[in-house]
């Protein structure tokens, strides 16, 4: 489904990610883990078109998408739950969902809004509330609901558990399991490496912009050397 081949993304003259390659297959949940500053967010932002890679290619279902705009990628079926949610604080919960469905027809958009309000009951309760007044956990639910509005085939999530209380972290990771489907691939970036690898089919380890290891999720979990050397434990 997703093939990232040798991407290098720079900020000015500094390469934040160098020669990074990864794949996500249909129905797979893949995680990308690494310490702070490893380049995980840069990698995701490059995939969704917010950043242009200096080198490398990105393909989705065999089609090159390297230089496409985020809205084009959303139409193709790629959606991102950004780091720190980036919900529109001055818009209501409902308005946030409506914007996220802006590429859909009016009737489809209303249908999807109703589905999201059913999937996340707290959002129905708070639908007219300014999103800026939501708690961290509620905001994360809104951020995920926004990304799901277009029923994406590839769902990218950047640090979904960041800043959340333990009970909300459990909620988010349980939700990931419910979002799995044979038609949907998921790529999750997490600093909470252990938790991410517990739910993932496969994992990639990123450190200072370079891919240092990869493998099956359960297999990587048993690698204490990995956690000591690369994940700072």
């Amino acid at each position: 489904m997703l093939e990232v081949a040798g991407i290098t993304t720079k900020y000015g003259d500094i390469a934040a990610v160098r020669d990074v390659s990864l794949t996500v297959g249909n129905g797979e949940l893949v995680c990308l883990v690494g310490p702070n500053g490893a380049g995980k967010t840069t990698t995701l932002n490059t995939i969704v078109g917010l950043l242009r890679p200096f080198a490398g290619t990105i393909k989705f279902d065999g089609q090159e998408i390297t230089r496409k705009e985020p809205d084009d990628l959303l139409r193709m079926g790629i959606a991102l739950v950004p780091e720190r949610r980036r919900i529109f604080a001055d818009l209501s919960v409902l308005e946030n969902l409506l914007v996220a469905g802006s590429i859909l027809s009016r009737s489809k958009r209303q249908e999807r809004v109703e589905e999201m309000l059913t999937l996340f009951p707290i959002l129905r309760e708070k639908s007219q509330t300014s999103a800026g007044y939501l708690s961290g956990g509620q905001a994360q639910q809104l951020a995920i609901a926004r990304a799901l509005m277009t029923d994406p085939r590839l769902l990218l999530m950047d640090e979904p558990s960041l800043g959340l209380a333990p009970v909300m972290v459990d909620f988010v990771f349980n939700l990931l399991e419910t979002l799995r489907s044979p038609q949907r691939g998921m790529l999750i970036v997490e600093q909470n490496a252990r938790r991410a690898l517990q739910v993932a089919d496969r994992g990639y380890i990123l450190r200072t912009g370079e891919m240092v290891d990869q493998g099956q999720g359960q297999e990587l979990l048993t690698r204490t050397d990995l956690f000591k050397s690369y994940l700072g434990e």
Binding site: F88, A89, E95, V99, R146
Partner: protein, 301 residues
């Protein structure tokens, strides 16, 4: 407070609201552009310059204000969209400073163009005949101009509120103003939302230009930056990025101007009005550097 004082004060407040209406509409246009591009567009005043020359040529050709007014609005919208396409779109990925320089460049370009192809001296044209008429209402002697301007501004603001709150166009624009890249992730096309912002900004400037030119009846190459000063300050004093702040700032400055000139300062010092208004603005910035209204950003944990 005696009746005469009340009537006098009420008239001055209405006069201030009338003056503040054009400030508010121009400030709103600036705030909309700032929201999506983080650009304080100094070329915004040139929409009025170009519109003024269109008004001049239509006026000397014998057209009435029933034709001139919509022509001003249309000119403003089109010129705003042209500046976006020709100038600002080319430098959108550049630094904020480059975009600011581009806006200054447009100011100089417009001034030079009209100075060269028309003339440096102002060109006068007919003001609307009813502009200085007054109407008596009880103890009040109100200028028809002020009443018309206030009513039209209120209608415009109501329509704008509906557009921004109840349509996907408006919701997408508000989202892009708050977080442009997050809006792109939601499928909002960056070219389209910026073009729409310039179109809307041009429309508001056009209506503001009609108010200004109805009374001014003059086109000159350097008028743009002069007219833009108060709306620019209104945008900043209201809180950069806040549309409500821009409107509040505009009306506040209009009222302050009139009150200083007509009530607070003695007649022999009325020429110090602008200085006093700027002093109040400076005070606001000292007390509230972020402006009167700030946008909510905090997320509870």
């Amino acid at each position: 407070m005696d009746l005469f004082f009340q009537a006098d004060l009420a008239q001055q407040l209405i006069d201030g609201l009338g003056r503040g209406s054009s400030y508010a509409l121009l400030a709103l246009g600036l705030a909309i552009i700032f929201g999506v591009m983080h650009l304080l567009n100094f070329a915004h005043g040139e929409l009025i310059t170009v519109s003024a020359y269109v008004a001049y040529y239509l006026s000397v050709s014998g057209f009435s204000w029933w034709v001139i007014a919509p022509a001003i609005i249309l000119t403003s919208v089109l010129f705003s969209m042209i500046t976006e396409f020709v100038a600002f779109r080319r430098v959108r990925e550049s630094s904020d400073f480059t975009m600011l320089l581009t806006s200054f460049g447009l100011v100089i370009l417009v001034r030079a163009a009209f100075s060269h192809w028309v003339e440096v001296k102002p060109r006068n044209f007919d003001k609307a005949s009813w502009v200085f008429n007054t109407v008596k209402w009880g103890a009040f002697n109100l200028e028809v101009y002020d009443l018309v301007v206030i009513v039209v501004t209120l209608i415009t603001l109501l329509a704008l509120t509906y557009l921004l709150q109840r349509t996907l166009f408006g919701i997408a624009l508000r989202a892009a103003s708050e977080d442009f890249n997050a809006a792109r992730l939601m499928g909002v096309k960056s070219d389209r939302v910026i073009r729409n912002a310039f179109m809307l900004s041009g429309l508001l400037a056009g209506i503001g230009a009609v108010f200004v030119l109805l009374r001014r009846g003059q086109a000159d190459p350097g008028m743009g930056i002069e007219i833009l000063l108060m709306p620019l300050l209104a945008t900043v004093i209201g809180g950069l990025g806040s549309l409500r702040g821009a409107v509040l700032g505009g009306f506040l400055l209009g009222i302050l101007e009139v009150l200083f000139r007509s009530r607070i300062l003695p007649d022999e010092y009325s020429h110090l009005t602008d200085m006093m208004v700027f002093a109040v603005i400076a005070l606001v910035f000292i007390i509230r550097p972020q402006g009167l209204i700030t946008v909510r950003r905090a997320e509870r944990v």
